[in-house]
Amino acid sequence: MIIETLTSPVILFFILGFFAACIRSDLTIPEPFAKAMSIYLMAAIGLKGGVEVASTGFTSQLASAAIAGTVLGFTLPILAFFLLRSIGKLGAIDSGAVAAHYGSVSVVTFVTAVELLTKQNMQPDGFMVGVMALMETPAIITGLLLARAYTKRPELENDVKANKEEGSGILHEVLTNGSVILLLGAFAIGMVAGEAGFEPIKPLFAIGFNGVLCLFLLDMGLIAARRLLQTKKVTIRLASLAILLPIINGTIGTVVGTLVGLDPGSAAILGVLSASASYIAVPAAMRLAMPQADPGIYLSMSLGITFPFNIIFGISLFAAIANFLG
C-alpha cells in the first residue's frame, strides 16, 4: 500500500509542499483559504458519515467503536505522559501538554486515511466520523490532570488561581470547540437529510472533496516543514518520541478496534485516530489552560514530525496491521 500512497496526488501535493518549504520557497496558502478548506472538509466528512449511518442505522459496532474511542482518548495520554517524562526528559507541564495532543486526533490525518483506505477497498464505516469527534476532547482532560498531579504547587500557583475562574471556561471551550460542533452538526444534518436530502448538495461536498484535500495537504506540507525547520526546541529524544508515540498508540488503537469487532477498515481508522496528534483544538486549549507549556515543543512534534509520519507511513502501517489481524 505504501507505493499506492506515494503516487496518490493527495500525498504528492503534501510532499510538494514539504519540499517547497525545505528549499525555502515563498509559496504560501492564505490563512483564510486554509481555514475555509478545513471547514469544508469537516462539513463534508460529517455529512457523508451521517448519510451513511442514516442508511445503515445504529449498529452494535457503532456503540462499541464509540466506547472504544472514548476510552482510548482518556487513557492514551497516560502512557505518553510517562514516556515524555522519562525518555523525553520533559517537565510535568510540557509532558501533560504534549500527551494531550497525542491522545486527541488530527482531522486531516483521518480524512487522508479514509481516502487511501477506500482506494484499497478497505472503506471504513461512516460512523467513524462520530468516533473521531468523540476522541477530540477527552485527552485534554487527562493531560491537564496529569500535569497538575505532577507539578509542585508554587509553579502553577498563579495559574491555579486563574484557573479557578477559568475552570468551567476550559471545560466549556473544550465541549463547544468549533470543529467538534461542526463535525457532529454536519453528521446530524446528514442523518436527518438522508440520501435523498443529500442529493442537491452532493456535487459540492462529494465531487470536489479529493481536489480540496490535495490543496489542503499542500498547505500542511508547507506548514509541517516550516515548523520543523524553525524549531530549536525539539531534541533527538523528542523527535524519536514523535515517531514512537504514533506507532505505539496506532498499534494499540488498531488492536482495540479489531478486538471490539470492527471490520479491518474501521479498525485501521481507529488506529490512525489513536496515532494522530491534534494541532488545532488541543493547542488552543493548552494555550488557555497551561500557558506555561511551550508551544514550540508540542506544535513542532505534532505538526512537524508526527503528522508527516502518519500521512506517509502510519496509515499504511495500521492498514497492514488491521489486515493481518482482521
Binding site: 498563579n158 477559568e166 500542511m220 488545532i280 493547542p283 488552543a284
Partner: protein, 103 residues
Amino acid sequence: MVATVQRKRIEILVDTPLVPRIIRLVKEVDISGWSVIKIASGGGRDGRWDHDEVTGAASKSIILMIASEQKADQFADKVAPLLESHGLLITIGNVAVVRGDRF
C-alpha cells in the same frame, strides 16, 4: 484649537487564544473600550514564526486601549501576575486625545 486631554495608550501583545482572558481583566477595571489588531508575523527568542498557519494557537494579537493614567495603573497591577506565565508584552505611552473626556 480643539481641546485635548492627556491619556495613556496601552498596548498588550498576547497570544490570540489568550485575548478573551485579558479582555476580562479590562472589563474589571472598567476601561471604556478596547481594540484588537492581528499580528501578521513576528519573531522573538524562539526564532521566527509566521501567521499563515492552520493552527491558531501560535498567532499573536495586540490589544489596544486608551485609558486614564489611573485606570492604566489599575490595569497594569491586575495583569502583572499573568505577565510571565502568559508571555505578555505590555507598553504604556502618552497620547493627547481630542475631546477625550469620556475615556
